[in-house]
């Protein structure tokens, strides 16, 4: 169980360029927390800071729990070697690193079974991950993160390439993880309707800065969103995001 997740005056830079600036916020434990913001806002960077992959240049980060908190992470992109195709089941098993025995213990085998049932990946067990569809792959990645029994789950645009049905399925799965297992979930998404449905709390970032945080109803502030999603210099990628956000707003 986690007790506290808090950032105080966090700053991160690459080669002198500040990517996150003086960021302070806290994440309620056992809840769904969304990070939104235009492309390049620093969302993925923030997750990497939480993971300990990027060291902040200033400020402090507190993640407290009973013992050392275990963090599960599903990255935005992940190179998959088509040359060495390993089975989905093996890919999930990779996440088991709590000890060094070369074989799986009985407890680990039943854990594996349970997680594969939960993420609906049993049918994929023997398929090489390189051959899975985008949605199937995301479920396998999620299973690998879950098998580590995380206290905190970080999802970086895990539904980005999924069809609407698969997106819904994925988010329900994540919601159940949060609700039933008390796992704190931090997810990044450009799908504002999805965020409004699933997030308990939302953090809006733009150019590395805290813009707005609070309950998900801040998403109903169309003016705020339009402002921050538009005030970025609009390049092609951002324009696409913008348009898709607008499309979604139209559909909902």
């Amino acid at each position: 169980m986690l007790h506290r997740i808090q950032m105080n005056h966090l700053s991160v830079g690459f080669n002198g360029e500040e990517v996150l600036r003086d960021l302070s916020f806290y994440v309620p434990v056992g809840k769904m927390f969304a990070i939104i913001g235009p492309n390049g806002a620093g969302k993925s960077t923030l997750l990497k800071v939480l993971l300990g992959l990027i060291r902040p240049q200033a400020g402090e980060m507190v993640i407290e729990g009973d013992g050392k908190p275990v963090i599960g992470y599903v990255p935005q992109s992940r190179p998959i070697d088509e040359e060495t195709p390993i089975a989905a089941k093996d890919f999930i098993t990779l996440g088991l690193t709590s000890h060094l025995l070369p074989w799986l213990t009985r407890a680990e085998r039943s854990k594996l079974k349970e997680i594969m049932e939960f993420t609906d990946t049993e049918m994929l067990a023997k398929k090489p991950i390189g051959r899975l569809s985008g949605g199937e792959r995301q479920r396998v990645f999620l299973a690998q993160a879950l098998i580590r029994e995380p206290d905190l789950l970080l999802l970086d645009e895990s539904t980005a390439n999924l069809d609407p049905g698969a997106q819904e399925e994925m988010m329900r799965l994540v919601f159940r993880i949060c609700e039933k297992r008390g796992v704190t979930v931090i997810f990044i998404s450009h799908d504002l309707a999805q965020v409004a449905t699933y997030a308990d709390q939302v953090l809006l970032l733009a150019r590395g800065k805290y813009v707005q945080g609070g309950a998900a109803d801040l998403l109903s502030d169309q003016q705020l969103l339009a402002e921050y999603y538009q005030h970025e210099p609009v390049d092609a990628a951002q324009k696409a995001t913008l348009e898709s956000a607008q499309r979604q707003a139209m559909f909902h």
Binding site: I71, I86, F91, G95, R148
Partner: protein
């Protein structure tokens, strides 16, 4: 053929080395290090030649040079050496150095042949103990490091995010590979290290998608190749390494065919 000591020794050492090659080979393939392994074998050749020149045991020279090579590669980063140019520079430099040391020493032509192409004749009991000891050491480290190594080799992003010491794993693996290459050179020679370290592992991928399955298959293929090579070499007097290479190449093509047939059945290709 088991009447001869050296044949018995060759079978014992060869079998263990084959198992080791199968196991480590799967990770070499997954980490895209097969050309670095090949480079190590040439550095090893330079090391063995240096040892002869300096009046040391060739194995010492092999280990010394390949381990130093591993440290060098680790320092500069593996990525630099994935480039063809870097590999060919080091390969030729190592071969050149080997030739230099050999010409400076009073080594026989037969030594050159042995270290480049491998030989099983004249493996005495002490050699066997050395080879067996080193091989068991490599296998033990692989077993202990199995979970970390396979996570890092097959999903580097995940391993890093899980907080595994990926840099340490990378250097550790290079050092282990250096030891494995030094041992394998004794059987198949510096030029044919590919035959046992990467070809069986590459072939295994055609038959299975499970990591342990690949290790098992690669080890079996390597072992079968060594047994076949030793027996055929004994009865025909053609070089053992030729038979090993031929066997492994055949297994690779059979694997390729097997995969193609499977794909055709499923209507893919």
């Amino acid at each position: 053929m088991f009447a001869y000591d050296f044949m018995r020794h060759a079978f014992i050492a060869g079998t263990l080395i084959a198992i080791m090659c199968g196991a480590i080979g799967v990770f070499i393939m997954a980490r895209n290090l097969s050309f670095i392994a090949h480079t190590f074998s040439h550095i090893g050749f330079a090391g063995a030649s240096f040892a002869v020149f300096a009046g040391l045991d060739p194995l010492i020279g092999l280990l010394l040079f390949t381990l130093l090579g591993a440290c060098g590669v680790g320092q500069l980063g593996v990525r630099v050496f994935r480039r063809d140019a870097a590999v060919s520079v080091i390969l030729s430099l190592a071969l050149g150095l080997g030739i230099l040391f050999l010409s400076l020493s009073d080594a026989q032509g037969s030594f050159t042949k042995t270290i480049l192409f491998g030989s099983v004749v004249g493996i005495d009991l002490q050699d066997v103990w050395q080879l067996v000891g080193l091989t068991l050491f490599v296998l033990l480290v692989l077993a202990v490091g199995y979970r970390w190594l396979k996570f890092d080799s097959f999903d580097q992003t995940g391993a890093e995010a899980a907080g595994l010491p990926v840099h340490l794993i990378s250097i550790g693996f290079l050092l282990l590979m250096a030891v494995a290459v030094s041992v394998t050179v004794q059987i198949v020679g510096a030029l044919l290290v590919f035959a046992l370290m990467t070809v069986p592992a590459a072939a295994a991928r055609f038959f299975t998608q499970s990591i342990f399955g690949m290790i098992l298959t690669a080890a079996l293929l390597a072992m079968a190749g060594v047994w076949f090579g030793l027996s055929a070499g004994y009865y025909t007097n053609a070089p053992v390494s030729f038979y090993i290479v031929a066997f492994e190449a055949l297994s690779y093509f059979v694997g390729l065919l097997y995969q193609r047939v499977g794909q055709m059945r499923r209507g893919e290709a």
